[in-house]
Symmetry: D4
Subunit: 221 residues, 8 copies
Amino acid sequence: TGVTLDLDRRRRCGFPEVIYGEGKDARTIASIIERLLASEVRVLTTRVTRTIADELLQIFPGAHYNASARTFRVTIKPDEADRGYVPVVTAGTTDLPIAEEARETLDWMQVRTQIVADVGVAGPQRLIAKLPLLAGADAVVCAAGMEAALPSVLGGYVDCPVIAVPTSVGYGASFGGVTALLGMLNSCASNVTVVNIDAGFKAGYVAGLIATRAHDARRSQ
Amino acid sequence: TGVTLDLDRRRRCGFPEVIYGEGKDARTIASIIERLLASEVRVLTTRVTRTIADELLQIFPGAHYNASARTFRVTIKPDEADRGYVPVVTAGTTDLPIAEEARETLDWMQVRTQIVADVGVAGPQRLIAKLPLLAGADAVVCAAGMEAALPSVLGGYVDCPVIAVPTSVGYGASFGGVTALLGMLNSCASNVTVVNIDAGFKAGYVAGLIATRAHDARRSQ
Amino acid sequence: TGVTLDLDRRRRCGFPEVIYGEGKDARTIASIIERLLASEVRVLTTRVTRTIADELLQIFPGAHYNASARTFRVTIKPDEADRGYVPVVTAGTTDLPIAEEARETLDWMQVRTQIVADVGVAGPQRLIAKLPLLAGADAVVCAAGMEAALPSVLGGYVDCPVIAVPTSVGYGASFGGVTALLGMLNSCASNVTVVNIDAGFKAGYVAGLIATRAHDARRSQ
Amino acid sequence: TGVTLDLDRRRRCGFPEVIYGEGKDARTIASIIERLLASEVRVLTTRVTRTIADELLQIFPGAHYNASARTFRVTIKPDEADRGYVPVVTAGTTDLPIAEEARETLDWMQVRTQIVADVGVAGPQRLIAKLPLLAGADAVVCAAGMEAALPSVLGGYVDCPVIAVPTSVGYGASFGGVTALLGMLNSCASNVTVVNIDAGFKAGYVAGLIATRAHDARRSQ
Amino acid sequence: TGVTLDLDRRRRCGFPEVIYGEGKDARTIASIIERLLASEVRVLTTRVTRTIADELLQIFPGAHYNASARTFRVTIKPDEADRGYVPVVTAGTTDLPIAEEARETLDWMQVRTQIVADVGVAGPQRLIAKLPLLAGADAVVCAAGMEAALPSVLGGYVDCPVIAVPTSVGYGASFGGVTALLGMLNSCASNVTVVNIDAGFKAGYVAGLIATRAHDARRSQ
Amino acid sequence: TGVTLDLDRRRRCGFPEVIYGEGKDARTIASIIERLLASEVRVLTTRVTRTIADELLQIFPGAHYNASARTFRVTIKPDEADRGYVPVVTAGTTDLPIAEEARETLDWMQVRTQIVADVGVAGPQRLIAKLPLLAGADAVVCAAGMEAALPSVLGGYVDCPVIAVPTSVGYGASFGGVTALLGMLNSCASNVTVVNIDAGFKAGYVAGLIATRAHDARRSQ
Amino acid sequence: TGVTLDLDRRRRCGFPEVIYGEGKDARTIASIIERLLASEVRVLTTRVTRTIADELLQIFPGAHYNASARTFRVTIKPDEADRGYVPVVTAGTTDLPIAEEARETLDWMQVRTQIVADVGVAGPQRLIAKLPLLAGADAVVCAAGMEAALPSVLGGYVDCPVIAVPTSVGYGASFGGVTALLGMLNSCASNVTVVNIDAGFKAGYVAGLIATRAHDARRSQ
Amino acid sequence: TGVTLDLDRRRRCGFPEVIYGEGKDARTIASIIERLLASEVRVLTTRVTRTIADELLQIFPGAHYNASARTFRVTIKPDEADRGYVPVVTAGTTDLPIAEEARETLDWMQVRTQIVADVGVAGPQRLIAKLPLLAGADAVVCAAGMEAALPSVLGGYVDCPVIAVPTSVGYGASFGGVTALLGMLNSCASNVTVVNIDAGFKAGYVAGLIATRAHDARRSQ
Ligand SMILES: Nc1ncnc2c1ncn2[C@@H]1O[C@H](COP(=O)(O)O)[C@@H](O)[C@H]1O
Ligand SMILES: Nc1ncnc2c1ncn2[C@@H]1O[C@H](COP(=O)(O)O)[C@@H](O)[C@H]1O
Ligand SMILES: Nc1ncnc2c1ncn2[C@@H]1O[C@H](COP(=O)(O)O)[C@@H](O)[C@H]1O
Ligand SMILES: Nc1ncnc2c1ncn2[C@@H]1O[C@H](COP(=O)(O)O)[C@@H](O)[C@H]1O
Ligand SMILES: [Mg+2]
Ligand SMILES: [Mg+2]
Ligand SMILES: [Mg+2]
Ligand SMILES: [Mg+2]
Ligand SMILES: [Mg+2]
Ligand SMILES: [Mg+2]
Ligand SMILES: [Mg+2]
Ligand SMILES: [Mg+2]
């Protein structure tokens, strides 16, 4: 069927393979989900359209679809979100879908998270007012489009890594997120690292990896 | 000699033609300066190398060469810098040459100015500490390289236009100022407008035009 | 709801936050409008589609929707357009929607304005015939697509800043406005400054800022 | 020796092969010149550095080297420049080397020519004053860098083809002539066609082809 | 109505203004056509969709719409196609719409023309077989997409200018015609000059200008 | 009809002309197929939509349409796939349509082939497990999107040429296959060569050419 | 002097400001170092040329200059490299200078580190042989140029974040590291995050931040 | 020393590792050569400057340095160039260094080869005259810069793969070989495949792989 699963991934990398839903039909996704469930892992599928999700929900009625994030999750064990803490900060309201994808990924990794939305730099007092929400973070995900100045400013206020995810929000010379991507790569804040445009999953995953490992270190005392 | 001067420029545009020194030899520049002086205007030449400047200083001993800005000025009347106020703000230390070009242009336009250097956003308290220096500005010039987040933050603190000038400072994906340029064009602050990369002259000129006109309005009471 | 308003903006920057309508549903926009009206400011929303506008007009029957500009305005006080003068010049007929966005912004700022359309450079006598309409301008907005030669020519005729806005008009190597943007950034006229592609709002805003400040200076006599 | 001459070119295309000097040493160029002279054609070599030219002048003492154009010509018959008329117009002083390359090419083709320099659009009266020099042109070559607005304006004044050649003059977002190239390709004037950046030779050649053919038509009466 | 006609164009440039149909509604186009007809010129409109054309044909029943070229012509005098000769050559079948736009433009200019289609270089005998059709040409229009090798080969067989028009035909790294455009600009044939991507009108216009002027020269004997 | 067939292609190049279906209607394609069949060659058409295919199947009922590959084949002789061996390897499931186009091309050339799907490098054991399927290959086609690391890894395991075809699979900074293309061009494996983005046909064709020639060499013993 | 130090950085971000040496003269750097030493922090300067370093070593004889990394370090306390573990892996020999910059940064952060060089993917057994050196890593820095396939392969073998740093190594379409950057951003491995081209400092800093925090968590038991 | 040799390469891939000389000093190269010689393979080093080569020739007096190709070869067995035939064709004289690199690689692989230089398409009779030299080729390497039309024309004349290598020859919009690269990728000839800009080594290697395998097939009869 054109699919070769990597069922050994969790052993090598700590978390199982995540299904990239783009361009896959419901039948293909369902069969992958079943094989993953059979190996007893929590299942996350990204880039799932509403139509595909409706078909999948017929097959997996207990699953969770997030229409904004376009993620589809099937989990065999209840969620316990206590494996570290990663806030997800956005510059504008329109960055929310990407932030949601990051949040769903963190939920799936059982990392505590919350979204701090619309604190872009042109109203600087907004971020300062919300800094207490960032206390104790193991890493911060920061989603921004347009000129993406937020990660640089944010990076100057925190002592943990900032995983910056450029969003395709904007018009004209924002070039579908390229300007935001370039801005983030050139951030003058030393603690900012970058993932692909609109890659909410990857930002969440890397941040979650940092958090779960720090959490394990704390617990292993 | 390949030069066609626009001696009518001051009448139409308020200020005389400025000499673009790039690629012109000392003899050509000197002859243009002389023709401009003959029509009794203050003379500004930009992009003048140290070598060319030394030759010109032989001919115009009273002239002023700014090696960092690479500008050469010959003025028939003393400078009275009271035609409005335009601070020039920079994100980093390395943006100074561009800031100097803007400052020389403002001096030539007889606008009051000062440089506020190295207040980039990764250390946010630095800009806040210097905000008093921006009080009463008719316009602000803001020079920044790398991700150029500063104009967006600055724009959120002032009620006048911010003329943003991207600098070619940075490495890797800064692409000689292109990243800074794109960031500034996509600024989420409404009062930010942009000139070409390293165009300290143009940033200074537009800001100076706003200042001198506001000054004239104030005086015409 | 993913929205963090910057209600302090008018105090710091002279004008309140403008709502960026792109990607927001009618309910979100309506709730923001209500909160802004509650703080007694004039409300401008940009990038509003006809469908969203129809929903909003149910809620705000006295509001003004400009379908060409895609702007939606709700103003508590009557418009008095006397805070300076900013003509909006276009190179072609197809640049009109962007010019309209600039004009609506200037109306909202209570600046006097008018559109001077279709005076592109290939018929040079057209601009010359309309130069009287530019007399007394505090700033000029100039919208052009394709090769965008107009701001350079216009800049040579006026003594105030020209805020150039590249439009995405054109085909082939016009690259959705990139060619116009680059041309404007490289303008040989010293008084030309640039905003993002299709950024009629920003061009109008910066020009309006110059005009209102000059107007206040004139009045403060 | 790695060279395969196309000695049949004059028969097929009207003019013999021109030697592209870039990257060729003096010995290689000299041997090509000799073979071309042997077939009794006028010889033009482009992109010849001063050093190479000095070596060549030892071998061909009667030849003509133009250091600004970087062209080297050896002609067996005297020049009679009467095969039509092509003026070469430049926007700025720094476009002169490219204009010179075009002029040398036209000389080699025996077309009457002259350079009209530094009539860029920011001082519009300069071009108008020189329009009489364009009367009777079979084609016009127009060299411009930066935003390259000149061909569009020029195109609106003449009734013959304008061969626009973008120059690599400028800085920042002029990208070594790319901005000028794009501007010219998108010219709103219908009679503007374009050659490669800094391709003075090609602009001159195409214009010369138009002129010599029109001249032959006129004479064949 | 946002339209400023250039009714003086024919006097200055030899041919009247052509209407750029893109983005204009039928009413606007019809009113421009009427004003142009009133000044007794032949009318050409480009980029007209089938829908707009149907509306226009109600108003101008004798007009001619070419659906492939998307051109709409209204001519007061009968067509006499004898003002010189310009063949239009294409590399592939899919370049035909652009070739048609060039042909319609040449018809409107009363230049004799014909299309020589699908003679791309991978089957070299095809072009050679059709060379007789190029005999006597005043200029050749050459439309090609993908790697656009045809103008270079064609240029080596003819002694008149080749006006190359890149088409947006191709996929992958053809980038909507950019590869073809760059290839043509870098053509090793000296007689190749270039217009914008898909600019069949411009290619036809410049070629037609060369042809009509040569024709007039021949006739003026 | 705008079509000039190259019926001599098989003699010169070993295989007849393949029909590029993009932008051609069913009638045009059918008439070309008929002329090709008349010269007794196996017919392959690429880039055929489902709608066009349905029309063609009415005319050529025995033909074979592959909806994923978008290829349409009409063969006069039965397929004997024994002219060498070319496996087609893909990095992900979504690369399958391009792999299918390559496979159809190889079928048409009568080369033995099979698809080895979804063995991307993040699960390295997958490729190693499938290496036996590559034994005896004359060449390997490798389709990959996103960062396209697979050809480099694959190249290190085989002793025959790897024809890499970048796919437009991915999002954000994958730029419709440009990132994959660039990665493949810069492959550190010496045996990797590259075709255009999504050019499954070309990858299959070049690989098939290598295989059939090796096969002929083997048989010619 | 154009420098505004951020002496509060260590309190907010965990580590003091690092001096960006590019474009600063020895005197400026020395004075910053002195002010930083006065506030009792370990000092790291990046992008220091050999010439500048020699001047600085006169002033700070006990300092450490790494000519390959171009870093200059002055530390008041002895180095104890026990704050976690970060291996630095390179694809080729030529990536070493960037790896060295990362290593120096990790030394300065007192993180244990070692370089694993030249294990690019075209010889896959090389990386596998060195996997034991990655055991126990808190994060891995991976430097690669050309097609930069290594981070994707590496990411599939480890369970911690991979901080990928593209290097400007390569030629042709590697575009000074842009191809490597794009490849890394599109990595199919979920645990790969990216910094700017040649940004060895930043890669080391983010990895070091992860390591020191994990180390502190382990110790805080 | 930062080098991890892949001594198993010949077993897996048919030919041993080639040393990439760029950025390596003579000592490093010499030590790699010695280790390779110890494993009894023929040694090829690419991108070796004259200076480095002189040092190496002290150590390996019997070695062969090609200054144009910048290759350095040390072979333990005499060259027998009979493993198939690969002609190397160039469009212009300036493409020779890249052609030489391909030729040296083929020599090292013991493949018979010869250079057919300067047969670019603007003089089409030149290639036709040399077609006999291509008879019996197993593959053809084709090096071309500027618009790179040659591979498409060449591809139409031969029945074997054409390995096209774009060269960085040209000026203006040739962008250091990018235009040639794009043209080749979009070649309308089905048998053209492409390697990186200036990658003479890779073009020679892939062509040599095809030739040696065909040769082995012929011999294994
Ligand atoms: N640094 C600069 N950047 C952009 N434009 C400049 C600069 N300096 C002078 N100019 C403009 O260049 C024009 C003179 O150019 P030129 O005729 O080449 O000397 C004047 O109209 C100035 O407004
Ligand atoms: N400056 C130039 N720009 C573009 N093409 C040129 C130039 N000079 C000569 N040529 C062309 O280059 C070809 C000769 O190239 P080559 O064989 O390398 O000497 C001739 O066909 C000329 O038409
Ligand atoms: N190699 C480097 N790459 C990126 N950022 C750096 C580098 N070295 C130092 N920095 C940052 O640059 C800032 C200092 O810049 P400056 O004020 O110009 O000295 C510090 O905040 C550092 O975090
Ligand atoms: N000119 C070249 N272009 C591309 N790859 C090359 C070249 N020369 C050698 N190589 C490859 O580079 C690898 C060696 O790189 P390195 O480990 O940096 O010496 C070998 O596997 C060769 O296949
Ligand atoms: Mg907001
Ligand atoms: Mg600083
Ligand atoms: Mg008009
Ligand atoms: Mg001038
Ligand atoms: Mg065809
Ligand atoms: Mg998979
Ligand atoms: Mg190596
Ligand atoms: Mg030649």
